[in-house]
Symmetry: C2
Subunit: 215 residues, 2 copies
DNA sequence: TTCGTAATCATGCAAGTGTATAATTAGGAG
DNA sequence: CTCCTAATTATACACTTGCATGATTACGAA
């Protein structure tokens, strides 16, 4: 007799990789890194556990890929905010800040995910490289926005000062993002974004609150 | 025949607990949470693995105790800075910021430790409570220093504004502390402290750089 | 000294870990 | 239709994990 139902389906490698990465991310976001076992990941992706070693050289490799995927997603989300609508520098910077400090970027799962990975950044060279890349990417985009705002306002700064401002603004955003994810109940909705706008404005000596109002 | 060398020594419970906690912390700082196994901890503390269950109700309990110990230590370190020397509000706030952004508070092991624990904050209720307590403690002390500085400068603010300022200053410090720990090579020595002083000053609208110079 | 007891140790266990291997099987090439 | 091959599965292995158990042993009390 002919078996009517195939026992599995062959998928393009890229689909499988993506499915495994998504399964990994959702698992880590929900129950932490230690829950992302080979078996749990495979189960969530609805494949056998052998697939992990088939599509990735090791579980560690999958974890790294998942980390980069997650970070790229966060980057894309904030980029979308800063790029949209308006091209007035002030509005763009404000949108960038607000986008970084509201859902879905601010999210318990996201932060938990990030924290779980941060542990590995400490000893894994590839992870550290990846983190460095992401960090500088975010900071440089921020610095570019800052430069545009300050130039428009006729308040140019030295290279050194710009570097410090970018680091500082990055730090406020990171700090707010983190606490917002870890202790959501500690802040009112939109409170983080409002504080972010005010703070970055104060750091640059420019009022961003008007630009932040736009929907 | 009398055995001349005792096979082990009986220690006061508090000593053993502390030794186990220290072993746990050094292990996590060096190789991450996943390396803090019952056997590894016992080996580093030079005791048998049974001691963990004897002095703590579970390994999880030891981890929690270690977390609180670590956080209390960070708190004490920053407190020492803010309390010392001078009692001029501006100098105290500056010292608090500098203390939070220089070694030994800024330290790769410390941040790694904190990140490792943060993962557990997400699902463990007791951990979350502990984190909340530490966070509010730090922020409230910061807010008290801020109030003193603003009052002295004759620039009082509303309760709401003070809350926002405390959250913002806390965020910059946290953000700088974190990146300093994760990417030490990305910043010159004292650069973080300098940025911190300038940033907090900018957020409050008060120049703290003079107060920061003192040794 | 003797003894009791709590601290400490050595060992074992069941469950879970990542990885290796060989058997299956889907789906296209000929 | 018939192979061939690579994707997929199923299973097993060696190892680690946290925890439990029962045997030791230090050390103060009597």
């Amino acid at each position: 007799m002919s078996d009517s139902t195939p026992k599995f389906k062959r998928e393009p490698a890229e689909h499988r990789r993506e499915a495994l990465i998504k399964a990994t991310l959702s698992l880590i976001a929900e129950k932490g890194v230690q829950a992302a076992t080979v078996r749990a990941i495979a189960a969530r992706a609805d494949v056998s556990q052998g697939m992990i070693r088939h599509h990735f050289s090791s579980k560690e490799d999958l974890i790294t890929a998942a980390y980069e995927h997650h970070m790229d997603r966060l980057t894309d989300l904030t980029s979308a905010f800063a790029g949209a609508d308006c091209n007035a520098p002030v509005a763009r910077l404000a949108a960038f800040v607000v986008g970084s400090l509201t859902p879905p970027v601010v999210d318990a799962g996201s932060v938990s995910l990030w924290a779980g990975f941060l542990t590995k950044v400490h000893d894994d060279a590839q992870m550290r490289e990846s983190h460095k890349r992401t960090y500088y990417n975010f900071r440089n985009r921020l610095e570019a926005l800052i430069v545009a705002v300050l130039n428009e306002a006729g308040k140019p700064r030295t290279t050194q000062e710009l570097r410090h401002l970018a680091i500082a603004c990055n730090a406020v955003i990171d700090g707010l993002w983190m606490e917002g994810g870890v202790l959501p109940s500690a802040f009112a909705p939109d409170e983080l974004a409002e504080i972010g706008i005010r703070s970055v404005g104060a750091l640059l000596g420019i009022d961003l609150t008007k630009a932040g109002q736009q929907t």
